[in-house]
Symmetry: C2
Subunit: 397 residues, 2 copies
């Protein structure tokens, strides 16, 4: 008898899950080691032309109370009602696979605990990096490593805008408008360009890697809207690309330091070649040195691919996967203050002359260079104030 | 009580497994959900100064006949005696994790069958791409996809040599000598530079993705020793880098076409930024579009990281993971002939004049360009003969 699952939400991702499942049903069933089928699709809207119209329900209780449904794909987005639904499913022992980064970033610890208590799984591969397998590789394939740092391009919209600024010399406003026209950016693009979306994702990665829940409000987050074409030009000449980097570092004092900032990435790094809407996550560990995962960070089928990968896992292994978990955090004392963030820095200073031993780029927009020494965030800020810097940005190690 | 495993071989990889395990024992045990320890290390040599000298044995039967040993890390290399040992372990229900690409490429189908029959696992994450998680992501995270193509830089030695040729204008022979000095290439570098190593790895990937055992002898394999600096220069001007690409494509006729060839990769592709000894694997699927996995393809701790990741999985899940498997192949009729391989091609022709509608690079070494149309391998070969081509290479799509 086939194993039944339900899809919550028939928006972009949810409809993608249904489409991809029926397209590749045979091979998916082979991977799962079971025949499978979708029994319900939850949506308040009507889809009279859908080939699966008989599966639609507007009543969540139909799914919750049907013992035949062993697994649920949550593709609603937002914290509520997703949280209530997901928690209820887990309490009934139904595993949940979600693409919902707000939900995981805000409620991950509680939902992981609920899953564990009810001997089922809360999976969230699709919540970070869309199609890119990152959650499972991080806690499974790299399980033998002491992971010291993770740095990622985790937002496709801002990466598209920055790519346009670099490749086509397009000002920020124009590139944003183009992203909106192409459907890469929302009408209200705040969550993307201010870095909130990338922040949620680095919270999920930080929680997973370091074992304690990291809330978005604890993470210093700066977006890309102040990036100017003259800094694009200067960094390019110096051999760097500006990317919105979400990172988390494990410090010697035992604390972790997550942050989201526009950051210079050397053209020698494979990360500099991550362009357009693509995402990438670079992981540093004592065994692997470094590994990078690259792919589409959003979109209907890419995100659906990740959700379904989790549904397959849930159908195959119907006991809790303990390692994919973290503890609630009583406070954020394990998170280091941004003032102690350390890196080399890019500065653009008004006018100015040559600086000894450092390559500079000098034109009407000022003098640009990269410090030869590392400075803390606090030191860089003080220096910027002292020199009336026109721009200053960290450089990825 | 702690779960015991054994390490076969105390060479580069085997000693790395021991070192990394004891370094990160606590977190490894957390991931595995069990206390763990190494009970035996098999090696014919003596290691009187090792802190683990009490664990060494020269007698494989000590390991085979000890029921406390539930999992074995095989780091011997080569087909024998590895094959005999691994098969015996699996027949006793001991899961095996291996870094041995020769073994998997030659005997994978038999060993997977043996594992299945004895309800244990034969894992081989470390046999392809060293530290890079690729086997598990391919068959787990991407399980919802119809995978249409995989293309990889799967040999670090040749990638190091090609990087030196590009970045430092170093001739092939000199770059090879440097690779040998740095320990990246063997004294007899044949397996690397002739492409045999990359061939074994694409055989493993092909078998896993398409479900039937692909033997190295069925795969057209060409190495990099004929690559000349003038082709490096010309391809660079045209916007491409030459990489040794091992790939496998699923064709419309249902066959697959694996091959290993020096191939031009556009600078617009993230693959072009994979330099030095790093490896990368690009996967195309109908859900994900494309995803890339990047990292160190060899080395003591990187390879040990992958072996240990598998050991952890084996300890955690002591039942067969069915999906990570493939069938024996009665013949190679499911493999398309290389003559039907299709791509655009790079040609360097003697002398010659402008070609309409195509960018060319012309100097004393000849006229270089990339065809605007795709040609089959057979067509490219015929054209090369007709025009007395000095060089011709495929271009990665």
């Amino acid at each position: 008898m086939s194993v039944k699952f339900a899809v919550l939400g028939h928006g972009v991702v949810g409809s993608g899950v249904v489409e991809l499942f029926y397209k590749n049903k045979k091979s998916i069933e082979k991977h799962a080691g079971n025949e499978m089928d979708i029994k319900y699709i939850l949506d308040l809207r009507d889809f009279p032309d859908s080939p699966y119209k008989d599966k639609f329900t507007k009543n969540f209780d139909d799914i919750l109370n049907d013992d035949e449904v062993v697994s649920v794909a949550e593709c609603l987005g937002g914290v509520e009602p997703a949280y209530t639904y997901v928690k209820a499913c887990l309490e009934k022992g139904k595993s949940v696979s979600t693409s919902n980064k707000e939900l995981v970033a805000e409620k991950g610890d509680i939902l992981l605990k609920t899953a564990k208590e009810n001997n089922c799984n809360f999976f969230f591969e699709a919540s970070v990096g869309g199609a890119i397998p990152i959650i499972r590789p991080l806690h499974r394939c790299l399980a033998a490593n002491d992971i010291t740092k993770v740095a990622g391009i985790l937002n496709g919209t801002t990466n598209f805008i920055l790519t346009k600024m670099y490749n086509d010399n397009m000002p920020f406003d124009e590139a944003l408008k183009l992203a909106q026209q192409l459907g890469y950016a929302e009408k209200d693009p705040t969550a993307d360009i201010e870095g909130h979306d990338a922040c949620r994702k680095i919270c999920i990665i930080s929680s997973l890697v370091f074992g304690k829940h990291v809330y978005p409000k604890s993470v210093f987050t700066k977006g890309i809207k102040d990036i100017q074409l003259c800094d694009v030009e200067a960094s390019d000449v110096l051999g760097y690309s500006i990317k919105l980097i979400a990172s988390v570092v494990k410090l010697e004092n035992g604390k972790i330091l997550p942050s989201v900032m526009p950051t210079l990435v050397s053209y020698d790094s494979v990360m500099a070649g991550v362009n357009d809407v693509f995402n990438a996550v670079l992981v540093y560990g004592d065994g692997i040195d470094q590994a990078m995962f690259y792919g589409r960070g959003a979109g209907k089928l890419p995100t659906a691919s990740a959700v379904l990968g989790d549904v397959i896992e849930a159908v195959k292994h119907r006991v809790t996967v303990f390692s994919q978990s973290w503890e609630p955090a009583a406070d954020d004392s394990f998170i280091e203050k941004i003032e102690n963030f350390k890196s080399k820095w890019y500065f653009r200073l008004p006018g100015g002359s040559a600086i000894e031993g450092v390559e500079v780029y000098n034109n009407d927009n000022g003098l640009s260079y990269i410090t030869s020494e590392e400075l803390t965030f606090a030191e860089a800020e003080a220096k910027a104030k002292e020199c009336s810097a026109l721009a200053y940005l960290p450089v990825l190690e």
